[in-house]
Symmetry: C2
Subunit: 192 residues, 2 copies
Amino acid sequence: MSKVKLGAVPLVYPIPIVLVGTNVDGVANFTEVGDCAVMGIQPALVTISLSATHHTTKGIDNTRVFSVNFPSTQMLSLADYCGMVSGCDVDKGALFATFQGEHTQVPLIEDCPVGLECRVLEVTQIKHRRLFIAEVVECYVSDQFVVTIDGKKQIADLIQLDPIIYALDNRYYGIGSPIGVGYREGTCHKTS
Amino acid sequence: MSKVKLGAVPLVYPIPIVLVGTNVDGVANFTEVGDCAVMGIQPALVTISLSATHHTTKGIDNTRVFSVNFPSTQMLSLADYCGMVSGCDVDKGALFATFQGEHTQVPLIEDCPVGLECRVLEVTQIKHRRLFIAEVVECYVSDQFVVTIDGKKQIADLIQLDPIIYALDNRYYGIGSPIGVGYREGTCHKTS
């Protein structure tokens, strides 16, 4: 197979679309972010990256807390809008019904199926990118997306959560069909 | 809407499934990782997280380079297998046809549509999780997934790339349909 070199392009895919919330000068603000990942289950870690000069960055630097909210596809236009305009110019907190995290005063979005309340542990800046590594202190799930399996409350599948997915071709996508189960699909390759 | 609290759970979704490659004691090794994200376009940054004791972690600590390879759904069983067994016990480099990065000696997977050659910039450890922040020094794309738009070489859409998606319900998913374009869907909310 022949490979084409595209240069120094961070072509990670697919990219989860999230709305990062924080208070900036006491006002709730949300911005659309694709630079977000889980970094560990126990401890419960997430990382996000923002431009050092962004309005949201100022809020996280001051409060040391943020929320990560996962919009469903029916919220696509609002999510995209939050990436188009700055909280300096538009009151983006007013776009959503919100609630406060119980452990911090971070704002979360009521209509997002899942929201994470996060406390910053470490900050790293590389050129103009500011990376926040944070612990999740609470995970809020809208009740219709909670399922009980073997007596334990768990999250519904991605078909029901209906996330927004992004890629560096600048397109948004929906989720596809389930194709397998973790730690089971590879069993066929075991030699003993 | 009523919210259910699930505790300190890092419920980020959807999660991209990648195969992280490195040389461990001079032998190519690959492991399945979901803890991976783009952290910026310019500079081209990615971050991954691994358990501090893992075989791959030892290789990255020693070489300061790794690759991020994006398997398509037809590679699902091999990807899952790479997450089930350790490079201490199984020669996982032998599972794939590989090629070397031009800037480093990092191994990349021939059959993955996209592979990133990465050089570590910073390392952070939080409890047993070791986070590597890296710059992408080259992006390799299989030629059938490169499209030329306005004279510029770009990546094909996610339908063609056919990535593996994971979620914390321990299911794998395929990609769904395109649903919009970045910085366009939100235009309807502009007030002026």
